[in-house]
Symmetry: C2
Subunit: 276 residues, 2 copies
């Protein structure tokens, strides 16, 4: 990729820029940001070669355009940059939910550029450009959700791009992505939030490293997680109901003092977690 465009850099987009500066220093970096303060921050830190207030200007002559806006804003920004896209360009995103993004963007981009969704399984409790890091993707997984008829060469190039950032790419359909990520990301976030809300105020001063680790994700930006949970509502409700059944079983095991069943539960979890 000679030229990469980041649309709306926050934690993820900013971390892409920082990592490319380190790992691919000859890549030309272009940025679109709606807010003047963000454009100034990008300019001041030299994170990009050009910074623009026009999505089309930022996307022109780009080999890869990465959408980092909230999911609901992606369609609008793609409509703005569409006329400037090279037909050989790849357009991707970093949204946490894939079927709705695919449904919104695939028809718009058909025949205009190579559209392939991405979801980097990386993040932090902090959000915004100031929290960006040049190693956020190291050792992580990025899920690609190409359509069945996606250009194989474009998928390979996008996979290589994520590898440059340190992430291993896996491929799933958008629908399967949303199901699996409901279990491994959206459900855990909701449970961490419920745990934080449920424990009594008297117990909080006793929190040790275990509680802190277990609930760290709950500190994440509420507006981002509200959008994620609403957008992936059906799959998250299913995952939550499966978990509800497991909690009910565990409650019965504990209430009945069923030592063997409790030992099986704890041993299975310890082994499965250690294998991760």
């Amino acid at each position: 990729m000679n030229t990469v465009t980041v649309i709306a850099p926050g934690l993820l987009g900013g971390s892409i820029l920082k990592t490319l500066r380190r790992a691919a220093p000859t890549t030309r970096l272009k940025v679109y940001a709606r807010r003047a303060a963000t454009r100034r921050a990008v300019s001041d830190t030299g994170l990009a070669d050009t910074v623009s207030d026009s999505p089309a200007e930022a996307a022109a002559d780009s080999d890869l355009v990465i959408l980092c806006t909230p999911v609901h804003a992606m369609r609008g920004v793609v409509e703005e940059l569409l006329p400037a896209l090279a037909p050989s360009a790849i357009v991707t995103d970093v949204g946490s939910v894939k079927a709705p993004v695919h449904a919104a963007l695939a028809p718009l981009l058909a025949g205009r550029a190579h559209w392939i969704g991405s979801h980097p399984m990386a993040g932090a409790e902090q959000s915004g450009l100031a929290a960006a890091r040049d190693n956020l993707f190291a050792g992580t997984v990025t899920i690609l959700t190409p359509a069945p008829d996606a250009d194989r060469d474009a998928v390979a190039r996008l996979r290589d791009f994520w590898a440059t950032l340190g992430a291993r790419a896996l491929t799933l359909t958008p629908a399967r992505h949303d199901e699996l990520v409901a279990e491994i990301s959206h459900l855990p976030h909701l449970l961490a939030a419920l745990l934080v809300n449920t424990v009594s105020g008297d117990s909080l001063p006793l929190a040790g490293p275990g509680f802190r680790d277990a609930t760290r994700i709950a500190a994440g930006p509420p507006e981002l997680w509200l959008e994620i949970l609403q957008t992936n509502r059906a799959a998250t409700v299913s995952a939550l109901e499966k978990f509800q059944a497991a909690v009910a079983r565990a409650r019965d095991i504990l209430a009945a003092d069923d030592r063997a069943a409790l030992a099986r539960l704890l041993t299975a979890a310890s082994e499965r977690r250690r294998e991760l």
Copy 2:
């Protein structure tokens, strides 16, 4: 404390020894370990000044005896070391549950030494002496559970001891300790184990740092957690039932697509977790 005895050093007892070597190098350290391999490991690493296969020998002339065995083994080991205890000695433990330990040991030790329970809110997924660290207690909390008639000077000395290790001491009754710790430690462990067991095998390869953090505690030693959950069963069942109700409410909020209620839930959790 001139002389400190650690009974059965594993992760916690070993970390106490390592930290004292660094932070209080003139303190004489004595160890009892049942297994020859543990005694050899302590000798080989110079973690203690004397290592014995007799609890009484290890406890003789000691200012502070720290019980690091599983909770069910504490009574037996105290019966063995009782004849060797100086009347001015403090006996404490590091067990995760306090009312049953207090019930077992307070009558045995009455008039024989100063019995004050301790629960350091520190730990790791690894167990055993090999995982011990000289900074395990830095910035953590240790809960002391003295009886109402406990010697004030002894409580103050035990508080200072934990401060030397880097831990801030709080005081609670044994029963209140068990209630609060069920919420802040035992419930989170059980939930992390259930989450690990419940997610589908297909979703595990997608696990990001959020899922890893949220479930790290589930990797802990199953036999230790089995004892903790069984010993603190009533309080943990109560905490679990409170959490069950919160999960049911969250499921209804999500299923009904109640945006305002979901936003309140996420915002409250994010703010409360950030304050921690």
